[in-house]
């Protein structure tokens, strides 16, 4: 439930956010010798998905900046009043910057940011700072990775059908499904993506059952927008191929795991804390992707044929170079009607409120 709103994030969210962020440069500030940074997590660091990726980034930040940064975190923080209490406590404890890493922490962060003008706040996946000049927003373009997965899927599938274990029909997830299918369609025009909604971000048993159901319906490639490695394990068991989510999940399915979308928050965290050290921190609102290193692909499985590797790598390279954008027209919707004309690219604002499926998606 909580996590639902966490990712709803982008959803209604950032669309408005992008319009509303002509942030004035923050007041002049001096650099710091050391920075105390705190992180607020919605899940356990052991979820091996969303929160795990954030925590790995925190450790990486410590490694990058050494003695100049001191970090702490609070995990399993429920969204709502409890979050406000935790964030306020962290601000009072003398932290210089607080990263709140779930959509539902947005309003509590806004409130606390107002009360502590000297502390910096960074909220992941929200859409507004409530006018606070000491609060920034950040998010990642995960759909760019989905396009790589779709390319691999279409190249390797024999049945021409992928199974998509999805959480909730919100724009973030819809965008991912569409990116996957569009990329697959470019390889195989008849490619189909069958979606199963499990109505949860994290429910290993149900994710595994959904995977088995999809495999029994003829899908031979599995991809997921849920957080546990269970779909990978189920795919491994059946000899199908699959992809990891949020982190490299190869250890769970050494044969099935082709690659994974890896959330790399480390460069962003390092950059922001460094800015604080230098005295150049300003409130920002960023939606970064592969080019900036915030979305990465896990190493390709050695079992993957060379031509597939090359095709996948080309998507990565072209995305980084800015010459590949999966949401480029012509794009047809499920009824076969052209939604995006030839040569046109879907604007970011429209992606963030996407509520229709492209041709070939069965949901």
């Amino acid at each position: 439930m909580f996590e639902l709103s966490r990712r709803k994030l982008l959803a209604a969210g950032a669309a408005i956010g992008f319009a509303a962020t002509s942030v004035a440069p923050a007041f002049a500030q001096d650099g710091k010798e050391t920075v105390k940074a705190a992180f607020v997590y919605v899940g356990p660091v052991g979820d091996f998905g969303w929160t795990y990726a954030h925590d790995q980034a925190r450790l990486c930040l410590e490694k990058n900046l050494g003695d100049k940064v001191e970090t702490s975190y609070v995990e399993n923080v429920a969204e709502g009043p409890d979050a406000e209490r935790v964030i306020r406590q962290l601000a009072q404890d003398g932290n210089d910057i607080v990263f709140t890493t779930s959509f539902g922490f947005m309003n509590p962060t806004i409130k606390v940011a107002k009360q502590f003008p000297d502390v910096k706040f960074e909220h992941a996946t929200g859409y507004t700072t409530g006018g606070n000049e000491n609060m920034g927003l950040y998010n990642s373009k995960f759909y760019q990775g989905r396009a790589v997965l779709g390319t691999i899927a279409a190249k390797m599938s024999k049945s021409g059908k992928a199974g998509y274990v999805a959480s909730f029909p919100i724009p973030e997830v819809v965008m991912g499904i569409n990116a996957f299918q569009l990329a697959a369609q470019k390889i195989n025009p008849d490619f189909k993506t069958q979606v199963v909604w499990v109505n949860s971000w994290y429910d290993p048993a149900k994710e595994a059952d959904a995977t088995r159901a999809l495999l029994s319906q003829g899908a031979d490639v599995i991809t997921q927008h849920t957080d546990s490695p269970a779909p990978l394990q189920a795919a491994e068991e059946a000899g199908a191929i699959a992809f990891g989510q949020a982190w490299n999940m190869e250890s769970f399915a050494p044969n099935a795991h082709m690659t994974a979308i890896v959330d790399q928050w480390c460069p962003y965290y390092t950059g922001r804390v460094q800015a604080l050290l230098d005295g150049t921190w300003e409130a920002d609102n960023v939606w970064l992707g592969m080019k900036e290193g915030e979305v990465e692909m896990a190493p390709f499985n050695a079992k993957m044929p060379e031509d597939v590797k090359a095709a996948a790598q080309k998507i990565v390279d072209d995305t980084k170079a800015g010459t590949y954008e999966v949401f480029t027209g012509p794009i047809k919707d499920q009824s076969g009607e052209v939604k995006v004309p030839e040569g046109e690219v879907v604007p970011e604002g429209d992606l963030l409120k996407m509520d229709w499926y492209v041709e070939g998606v069965q949901s």
Binding site: F48, A213, Q217, Q233
Partner: protein, 264 residues
């Protein structure tokens, strides 16, 4: 269940033997149940409140124990029947399961026999139906209840280890996603009768899988949320039918939830 899941996983990965994992899971969960037993039987704490507290405790403890085991894989049970028997989908339906599944079926039959046919089972039921009468005849009410709770704990542990060793062979916090509660619903659903319990378990399983199978087959007459609600709708419907048919006779043991203090 979570304590069982994490212990089973920990033991199985450490020793490399899933059988030891399942046994460890049962032992650990029985240990947790003994805390519950001590609280509600000896100290006579409220059973419902203690049960809820134990659930929260188990979630936390399992996360703590499991922390070093996140992100690794475990050996799992191999098939027990020869490959020839699992070649066709129909045969797989009968022979293609993990040993734990067959063990579960055997245990259900054993428990049914125990409750209905054995002397000890009759004593157990007497203790549940009328603690004072059982005490008056000279049965050790508390001892029997202790043993029953420990057995229940061990079974929950075994169920938990099925998650971490068979269904999704890994450990992650809150792995069972609250599915243990279905057991409580099932007991009410089955009105404390093992045979109906087995049928109910399969019915629940069927409805839960149907939701996903229907979606995977592209059956989208209803919104996914409607399909997801099916198991719960089915539960309410069956409960309503049962209680209407039996005029409210849910068949619960008369002393359910009551503490017992020996007098005289």
């Amino acid at each position: 269940m979570l304590i069982g899941a994490v212990t089973g996983f920990a033991v199985a990965t450490t020793t490399g033997l899933p059988v030891l994992g399942a046994l460890g899971a049962m032992a650990a969960a029985a240990l947790a149940a003994s805390i519950f037993a001590f609280l509600v039987l000896t100290l006579m704490a409220n059973q419902v409140a203690t049960g809820l507290a134990l659930t929260i405790f188990g979630t936390g403890v399992s996360a703590l124990i499991g922390a070093p085991f996140v992100g690794i894989t475990t050996p799992t049970f191999g098939p027990i029947f020869p490959e020839a028997l699992t070649s066709s989908p129909l045969l797989r339906l009968v022979f293609g399961h993990s040993p734990v599944v067959y063990l579960g079926l055997i245990l259900t039959l054993a428990v049914a026999w125990f409750l209905a046919r054995s002397r000890a089972g009759l004593i157990l039921r007497a203790v549940g139906e009328s603690d004072t009468a059982a005490h008056a005849i000279g049965y050790p009410v508390l001892t029997v209840r202790y043993l029953a709770i420990l057995f229940g704990g061990a079974m929950a542990g075994l169920a938990g280890s099925y998650y971490s060793l068979v269904l999704t062979p890994m450990w992650a916090e809150r792995l069972t996603a609250g599915r243990g509660w279905i057991a409580i619903a099932l007991v009410v659903f089955a009105s404390w009768k093992p045979g109906r319990m087995l049928a109910g378990a399969y019915l629940f399983g069927l409805v839960i899988t149907m939701e996903l199978q229907a979606k995977a087959a592209g059956f989208n007459m209803f919104a996914p949320e409607v399909l997801a609600a099916l198991p719960y709708v089915a539960t309410i419907a069956v409960l309503a039918i049962i209680s209407a048919a039996k005029r409210g006779g849910a068949n619960a043991p008369a002393c359910l939830g009551k503490s017992f203090r020996a007098t005289a």
